[in-house]
């Protein structure tokens, strides 16, 4: 017994080590986080407070970087803001443009075709809108596909439209995107085709190119589709004559648009005054 006590006393450091090492291993083996005591982790009161104090000091060290990041973010937002403002301005400009040119200058009235002919030498279309609806002479008429004609006579509730299929109508048209212009007339042969006359010979074109209105006359706005080129007659002069397939099907007209040009009167007066002076 005495020797045992002497052994333990002599080797007390090793026994202490053994005891504490076993205690550490027990702590180490608590691998399940739910079984770990909250007192042995960073979530306990003292530890949490020490970490809290630390972060309240060290968070100031990051302020410069945080500030830089915030400035960078502000720069990005400012750039975005500028871009959006510019876009908004563009839309506002576009809207005012729209008001000026389309809403103010041109106005559409829906009308229905009540009478139509295609096989006579001079063809007219009758529509169900007249002077009480504001319709008057020389207004342009289109359908969803393209140009139909120009109002020739009005009564109180009906109007007579000079059809494209009428040799009395000469429509100012051009090759789309080239500004090379000429006149569209009907040759009285086929209701599907018309003739594009007076196109300068130097113009580059090919079959299938689209013919649109020029806007030179007050009846139609610019770029209303008319038809597409299908063939060329070479008359031998300095101008070309082309065969044009019309977009509108005159056989089956139903709803058409009467185009009101608010500046038509002003424009016609101007042109009339020029003609009178000559």
């Amino acid at each position: 017994m005495e020797s045992l006590i002497r052994f333990i006393t002599k080797n007390s450091p090793w026994f202490t080590w053994l005891f504490l090492a076993i205690l550490s291993i027990v702590l180490l083996c608590q691998t399940n986080p739910y079984h770990r005591s909250i007192w042995f982790g960073s979530a306990n009161f003292i530890t949490a407070n020490v970490y809290d104090l630390q972060s309240s000091v060290t968070s100031y060290f990051g302020l410069r970087q945080a500030n830089d990041e915030m400035l960078e973010g502000m720069g990005l937002l400012e750039t975005e803001n500028l871009a959006l403002r510019q876009q908004l301005q563009e839309y506002q400009d576009l809207e005012s443009l729209h008001r000026d040119s389309l809403k103010h200058q041109y106005r559409y009235l829906i009308a229905h075709v009540v009478g139509n002919s295609i096989n006579q030498a001079e063809n007219y279309i009758t529509i169900d809108k007249g002077s009480t609806d504001g319709v008057h002479q020389d207004l342009g008429v289109t359908d969803q596909n393209g140009v139909i004609g120009i109002v020739a006579k009005v009564s109180s509730h009906y109007s007579l439209v000079l059809s494209v299929l009428n040799p009395k109508l000469r429509l100012s048209v051009m090759l789309k995107n080239t500004e090379a212009f000429g006149s569209l007339v009907w040759d009285g042969k086929d209701s599907r085709y018309a003739i594009f006359e007076d196109l300068p010979r130097n113009v580059d074109y090919k079959n299938g190119d689209t013919i649109v209105t020029t806007g030179y006359t007050s009846s139609f706005p610019k770029n209303i589709p008319v038809g597409r080129i299908v063939d060329t007659f070479d008359g031998g002069g300095s101008f070309l004559t082309l065969h044009v397939e019309l977009f509108s099907n005159f056989n089956r007209l139903n709803a058409v648009h009467v185009i009101f040009n608010e500046e038509q009167e002003e424009r016609d007066q101007l042109q009339a005054s020029v003609n009178a002076n000559n």
């Binding site: 080590w17 550490s24 770990r36």
Partner: protein, 164 residues
């Protein structure tokens, strides 16, 4: 007097470890500067007390690292062997009291002594840590980096302290 000085070292080392060096990692290796508190324990302290103190230091670090038992087991084992290792490097039979310092042992002996303790500590710690995930090259790299960092900082602190 040396006990008070030692407590100062102890607190400084643990606080620095917990608040600063635990957050600085270099390729997975961390500088374990609290080992300096184990290195410098005054020689007059009873070995049992040294071992208990080693356990407490490890335990505090464990709590802050959320690694219960890991640093305690390492520190308690290192402290159990510390006096044995110190005898290998200490030629002075008169060295019976006071902190283990560079002036006491001389630069060469102190460096070899601290390197031995640090290497033992890091090796033990990472072996215990890698019981769950054993990958020898990674383990070796971590041990080497930690030993290098810890030794560098501990020597720097020792130089700074000896200048006073």
């Amino acid at each position: 007097m040396s006990i008070l000085l030692y407590i100062l070292w102890l607190l400084l080392a643990v606080v620095l470890q917990v608040l600063l060096f635990n957050h600085l990692s270099f390729f997975g290796g961390v500088a374990l500067v609290y080992v300096i508190a184990l290195l410098k324990a005054p020689v007059e302290i009873n070995r049992v007390l040294q071992i208990v103190m080693g356990f407490l230091v490890g335990f505090v670090v464990d709590i802050f690292c959320n690694t219960p038992g890991m640093h305690s087991l390492t520190a308690v084992s290192v402290m159990a062997l510390r006096d044995v290792i110190l005898h290998l490097f200490n030629d002075d039979p008169e060295f019976k009291s006071g902190l283990v310092t560079m002036q006491q042992l001389g630069l060469s002996a102190y460096a070899r002594f601290s390197l031995s303790i640090i290497a033992l500590h890091c090796l033990l710690l990472y072996i215990i840590e890698s019981f769950t995930l054993f990958n020898f090259p990674v383990l070796l790299l971590k041990v080497l980096i930690s030993v290098g960092l810890t030794f560098g900082f501990c020597m720097a602190f020792e130089f700074a302290a000896s200048k006073k």
